[in-house]
């Protein structure tokens, strides 16, 4: 009532600062960590777990760890000091962990391939880098052939059989090929599953459901062992290529379902708006529906890609020794007995770095593509 003057006019009240209980460290702590009794208990429990885990982890990984160069576990296996990580082993086996049995004089080709790949990916993905179109043409049009030639060789540079490929390099080759090839196939399968044409819909559903019903390890065994049995005598192609195709098709089925989830979130009005303007099926999907559906599906697509990257460790079972396999076999080496923990810690760290990077980029992408501006 006080804000009405004698003449009956409304007087606007000034904006006041919030009360002291809403700002400052103490109020933040109270609101976020100790707002209620159960919340306070959880906070204390969390602090206790950190107290138990972090110091012993730091001791193992840094304080009692062995860093020096060496050729066997003599350095790491001293009985009079507490257990620590044997980074000496990682140093000694670093080459084989990264490149497998790729011959050392030729390893620059692997380095060059991945430098080019990460430069092109960076050029395409990082905002503000010019010439996006040319980066894309290079990455999708030129790079695959260049990488194939650099890694395999044959003409001008020595041939390196794919059976010698291994370590982290193999994980990265499998994951990048899998990701790049399975996304478009998955999108087509998702559109196929929603198609009005019964044959296309049936084929898409059958493929997706069949592949999703089979473990990847089975697909890999089929690709490496069973598939050659069905081929005519003398006709055969590279085992790693068969494995790659298996991974691509496997991943595509999952991507298809992720994309379908995005497609289902697009209101019917978007299709009608596009059709009423005269856009045909492909233009409607490419320009109106998919850009929105893919943005919605980013978290689940990246989830599948991270899963795919992890799944590349399964190629060990068909005799292609990647990073995890190399780590474990290093720890089985008589010179390095007792270093399994170190090997697993190192392998985990490497996988974590790549997967965390993918995860962060996808979150950045989601924010960047958000145009909802809910009012």
């Amino acid at each position: 009532m006080a804000d009405i003057t004698a003449s009956g006019q409304h007087v606007r009240q000034p904006d006041l600062p919030p009360p002291a209980s809403e700002v400052g460290v103490v109020s933040w702590l109270r609101k976020n960590l100790f707002s209620s009794l159960p919340n306070a208990a959880l906070t204390l429990l969390g602090l206790y777990l950190l107290y138990v885990i972090v110091p012993s982890l730091v001791e193992w990984a840094f304080i009692y760890a062995h860093w020096v160069e060496g050729v066997n576990n003599k350095e790491c296996a001293q009985a009079d000091i507490p257990a620590g990580a044997c980074w000496t082993m990682i140093r000694a086996r670093f080459g084989i962990l990264m490149y497998g049995f790729y011959p050392p004089p030729e390893r620059w080709r692997v380095d060059l391939t991945f430098v080019l790949q990460f430069a092109a990916i960076g050029g395409l993905l990082i905002e503000g880098v010019p010439y996006k179109k040319y980066w894309a043409i290079f990455l999708f049009g030129v790079f695959p052939f260049l990488a194939f030639y650099l890694l395999l060789g044959g003409i001008g540079i020595p041939l390196v059989e794919t059976s010698a490929w291994g370590g982290l390099m193999l994980n990265l080759v499998l994951a990048t090929t899998g990701i790049v090839a399975s996304l478009p196939i998955g999108i087509l399968l998702a559109l196929g599953r929603r198609s009005k044409l019964p044959i296309i819909r049936l084929l898409s559903v059958a493929f997706i459901e069949f592949v999703r019903g089979v473990p990847l390890i089975t697909v890999l065994f089929m690709a490496s062992v069973v598939f050659p049995l069905f081929m005519p005598e003398g006709v055969n192609f590279n085992k790693l290529l068969r494995v790659v195709i298996g991974i691509i098709l496997f991943s595509a089925a999952y991507i298809a379902e992720n994309v379908r989830g995005g497609l289902q979130a697009i209101p019917k009005g978007q299709y009608e708006g596009a059709m009423a303007l005269g856009l045909n099926y492909w233009k409607m999907n490419a320009l109106v529906v998919l850009p929105q559906a893919l943005r919605i599906a980013i978290p689940s697509i990246v989830n599948s890609f991270i899963g795919l990257f992890m799944d590349t460790t399964l190629v060990n079972v068909v005799g292609q020794i990647e990073l995890l396999g190399m780590g474990l076999s290093s720890a089985r080496d008589p010179n390095w007995l007792g270093t399994t923990n170190t090997a697993l810690a190192f392998v985990s760290l490497v996988f974590f770095i790549f997967c965390f990077g993918m995860s962060r980029y996808s979150q950045y992408l989601e924010r960047k593509l958000y145009t909802g501006h809910k009012r």
């Binding site: 708006g273 059709m275 009423a276 303007l277 005269g278 909802g372």
Partner: protein
């Protein structure tokens, strides 16, 4: 007001022809033997209770809905399963929806230039010039770089009208264009539609805005349960409705 309608030119050229059109949703007979001829420059308002089939009727004209019996032709192109015909008709027929159906991932300008660039193969610069011209015409040139989600409902609907106009259509269909708007925004959209009608556009509007019907329509059609019950000039339609069903409907929407 009636004079304004009378000055607008209607030619004898037939733009849309529906002959004995029937449509079913499953067992539900939603359109019953509809006959309708629309000439160039005509402004037709279709009204009727909800579920009467009026939206379905205009959605059949650009084949967003399929009719099962009868013939629909637009500019002498018959709508059949032939995709080429459908796309050709859709290029010439603009449509404005109740819920705007703007593309939220594109800016206003990109919404407007999308179809001219990809369907009409217009160069980008030219498409943008055309788009800005129509944004000017619907009185929101300053919103070109914004996203639809940043605009009010009335502004979004005006963008949607401009988006249709960018394809330079010969016919405009309006499917309850003001039904989803707050009261204070209805006027700004109707003003754009009235201006469009005065420019000689052939229009079919499904709407309950009877003021609009009186101002610009040269024919009002009343539909109920899938049938055209009555059609007449607006003055006659509102002042001397013939059927009891029309009288009841008019009393419900005009005096509440």
């Amino acid at each position: 007001m009636a004079q304004a309608a009378a000055t607008m030119h209607v030619s004898d050229e037939v733009m849309i022809k529906l002959e004995g059109v029937n449509k079913w949703y499953g067992q539900f007979h939603v359109l019953k033997s509809i006959n309708l001829t629309v000439k160039k420059g005509e402004r037709i308002v279709i009204c009727g209770p909800s579920g009467s089939g009026k939206s379905t009727l205009i959605r059949c004209i650009n084949r967003l809905e399929e009719h099962q019996k009868g013939r629909i032709s637009v500019e002498n192109i018959e709508l059949t399963h032939d995709l080429k015909n459908i796309e050709q008709v859709r290029r010439e027929v603009g449509m404005v929806f109740q819920h705007f159906n703007l593309f939220p991932h594109l800016t206003v300008l990109e919404n407007l230039t999308l179809a001219p660039i990809w369907v009409r193969k217009m160069p980008k610069a030219e498409a943008e010039a055309v788009a800005r011209k129509y944004l000017e015409r619907v009185k929101i040139p300053e919103q070109a770089e914004k996203y639809p989600g940043q605009l009010s409902g009335g502004q979004q609907q005006r963008v949607a009208i401009a988006r249709s106009l960018c394809m330079n259509p010969k016919i405009m269909l309006f499917d309850e264009p003001t039904s989803a708007l707050d009261p204070e925004m209805i006027k700004e959209v109707l003003e754009v539609m009235i201006e469009l009608a005065r420019s000689g556009m052939t229009m079919i509007c499904v709407t309950h805005e009877m003021g609009f019907a009186r101002t610009v329509a040269n024919r009002v059609i009343f539909m109920d349960r899938g049938e055209i019950i009555e059609e007449n000039e607006p003055e006659e339609f509102f002042n001397h409705p013939r059927s009891d069903r029309t009288k009841l409907f008019l009393s419900q929407i005009l005096h509440h």
